[in-house]
């Protein structure tokens, strides 16, 4: 899961955003003397249409966030009232909880290794598909399918069976003389296996890349070719800069999405995060602490650390955007 503004980003269309921010009332024939009454009616209509969203935003998102921040400074087990303990949860997390440190490490490895590989695979295949239109639609759909089902329990079960000892992957590798045994029970191989599952779902990212590639004007490539640019140079000088808004979008959502991997790790490890804690991603660890051990305050603190890490990454990406993301058709 994840999403957003590709359309805005891909086409560089800023006008709609600008018109949204233009809050004044329209000039011209519509601005009549009764404008004041109209403004009131517009406000009423606006908030009327937004009632469900407002209830959800405040009731299920904003207030819960604040409450979870409060809980993160308490000791709370849902049966007795929360007890304020200040920063203890956070201090414990970083100084006295090796399981959390390991959990944070494997999550970071998963995100930092898995996301770029997925993006590279997606971009590579998208460029391959962009080479030719006829026949491409079939491949595009085939490659997209795993994205749709990748987060499901069914796929986690299949993955587990595929990488089991004497499963298809193990016996396939043995055929080439590589004897790794099962990946699922092996602490050294289970994280690579999870990353492979992530990369396998490159399809949605690829479809977005492909849509971006189709928007690059052919003349740019022709001009580059006239100037004697080779394939690699054309890729560096035309494809990458023209595609940078889409890369930015996919990178941002890819990183945020990867942090939230849960179902696959939970199913593959039977809810333990094993073997040896190597599938104990932050989300799994938080779930175990909060809902199996009843340490809701500690789990809330873990969730807030996750939120802060995600926010910092998003901030860094947005900050560095100016230096590497090029919006065409924009008078910047």
């Amino acid at each position: 899961m994840s999403t957003t503004a590709t359309r805005v980003i891909v086409t560089g269309e800023k006008s709609s955003r600008r018109s949204l921010l233009r809050r004044g009332r329209p000039e011209g024939p519509l601005a009549r003397p009764g404008a004041r009454g109209r403004a009131v009616r517009e406000n009423l209509a606006g908030y009327g249409f937004l009632i469900p969203w407002l209830v959800g935003f405040f009731g299920l998102t904003l207030i819960p966030m604040a409450y979870s921040l409060y809980l993160s400074f308490t000791s709370y087990n849902i049966f007795s009232p929360p007890k304020w303990i200040g920063l203890d949860n956070y201090i414990r997390m970083f100084t006295n909880d090796p399981a959390f440190i390991q959990s944070a490490q494997i999550t970071l490895v998963y995100v930092i290794v898995g996301t770029p590989i997925t993006l590279a695979a997606a971009l590579g295949v998208a460029m391959l598909l962009n080479y030719r239109d006829r026949g491409a639609a079939f491949f595009r759909s085939s490659f997209y399918a795993p994205s749709l089902i990748g987060g499901s329990v069914s796929v986690a079960i299949v993955w587990r069976a595929m990488f089991a000892s004497d499963g298809p992957v193990d016996s396939g590798l043995s055929f080439f003389g590589i004897d790794l045994g099962g990946w699922v029970g092996n602490p050294a191989l289970v994280l690579p296996m999870m990353i492979l599952l992530h990369v396998w779902q490159f399809g949605a990212t690829m479809v977005i890349f492909l849509a971006g590639l189709k928007q690059i004007p052919k003349e740019l490539y022709e001009a580059a070719e006239m100037d004697g640019a080779g394939a690699w140079h054309r890729f560096r000088a035309v494809t990458l800069p023209m595609l940078s808004p889409v890369i930015f979008f996919n990178l941002l959502l890819g990183l945020i999405g990867a942090f939230q991997v849960f179902a696959a790790a939970y199913i593959i490890s039977n809810g333990t995060g094993g073997p040896a804690g190597m599938t104990n991603f932050v989300t799994v660890y938080m779930y175990k602490r909060g809902f199996s051990d009843g340490q809701m305050g500690y789990a809330a603190a873990i969730a807030w650390v996750l939120l802060i890490v995600v926010a910092v990454i998003a901030l860094i990406l947005f900050r560095t955007q100016r230096s590497w993301v090029h919006y065409s058709g924009d008078n910047r």
Partner: protein, 308 residues
């Protein structure tokens, strides 16, 4: 599957080359043909790797239990339907149809909730100039990037206090409150592309926002509503964390949690055949959806940046 044919790549590139190759056409045509052949071979290889797990899953449902661990290949040595019969009986004393029904109720209600709440919110964000629009829109975009885990504990406490644990309400109610910002955002983007002439004409004729929303906007954004419905259904169908948190008695389990029962039972070395078959059966509706609506889904992703 796709309507695009695999045939005659050579002729097609040849025609293409006739327009574009000024010098030594024959040699370049030959090179282009080879490139196309290699293109197909590479992509077919990638397809084989990508779809292998799904094909393996399907064919493994016909393997008897004894073949798991013995026959890792695709083809069952002693094909049997026994797994399907076993799976139909269900697990934990609950028949399989019940898990399907639960999944269906949750997914279908989610679709209804998403459609109503998201289209209302999207119309307000895209077409009504009210005070506070800018900041609320920014807040909505912010929730797109928010990790869900930060709200699950307070939400759980809330629904627990309301006595709604072990009901479908905690899974369905948020959908009626537009908490999934993707859908709101997708519809906002779609509505913004619609020409304003029609609703401005209607406004001059004295129509209010409710009329414009109902009789002009909803029919216009039908394609986007269909895309939203498909994704809302599939995401609710596949959701694992929500039901894991809230549903405690087996007769309320949707398929993903039922699968977990199979999975946990099979880890003890018990019934791989049933586990694999139940996984496949649970995936079937999504795969059928995909086969029927694939162009719709993929185009939706391509234009709106909506991921699976």
């Amino acid at each position: 599957m796709s309507s695009t044919s695999f045939g005659e790549p050579a002729i097609e590139t040849l025609e293409h080359q006739l327009d574009t190759a000024p010098t030594t056409p024959r040699r370049r045509v030959k090179r282009k043909t080879w490139q196309t052949v290699i293109w197909f071979i590479v992509l077919i290889a990638v397809t084989a790797i990508v779809l292998y797990p799904l094909l393996w899953l399907f064919l493994s449902t016909f393997k008897p239990n004894s073949e798991f661990g013995q026959n890792p290949g695709l083809i069952p040595e002693n094909p049997t339907f026994a797994n399907y019969l076993k799976v139909a009986d269900g697990i934990a004393g609950v028949p399989m149809w019940r898990f399907f029904l639960n999944s269906f109720i949750i997914a279908a209600s989610s679709v209804v909730g998403v459609l109503i709440s998201s289209s209302l919110a999207a119309y307000a964000f895209a077409r009504i100039q009210f005070k506070g629009l800018g900041i609320l829109f920014a807040a909505m975009i912010g929730t797109l990037l928010l990790p869900f885990h930060v709200v699950i504990i307070p939400q759980y406490i809330l629904f627990n206090n309301l006595g709604w644990v072990d009901t479908f309400i905690p899974l369905i109610l948020p959908k009626f409150l537009a908490t999934e910002a993707f859908f709101v955002f997708l519809l906002v983007q779609f509505i913004r592309q619609m020409p304003r002439d029609m609703d401005e004409a209607a406004r001059i004729d004295g129509a209010g926002h409710i009329r414009i929303f109902w009789s002009i906007m909803l029919p216009l954004i039908k394609p986007a509503l269909i895309t939203c419905s498909i994704f809302a259904f599939i995401w609710a169908w596949n959701d694992f964390l929500g039901p894991l948190l809230y549903l405690t008695s087996p007769e309320n389990y949707p398929l993903p949690i039922a699968l977990r029962l199979y999975n946990d039972a099979s880890s003890g070395g018990a019934d791989y055949g049933a586990t694999v078959t139940a996984s496949f059966v649970a995936l079937l509706p999504v795969l059928l959806f995909f086969l029927v609506f694939q162009r719709f889904l993929v185009d939706g992703v391509a234009t709106q940046g909506l991921k699976g």
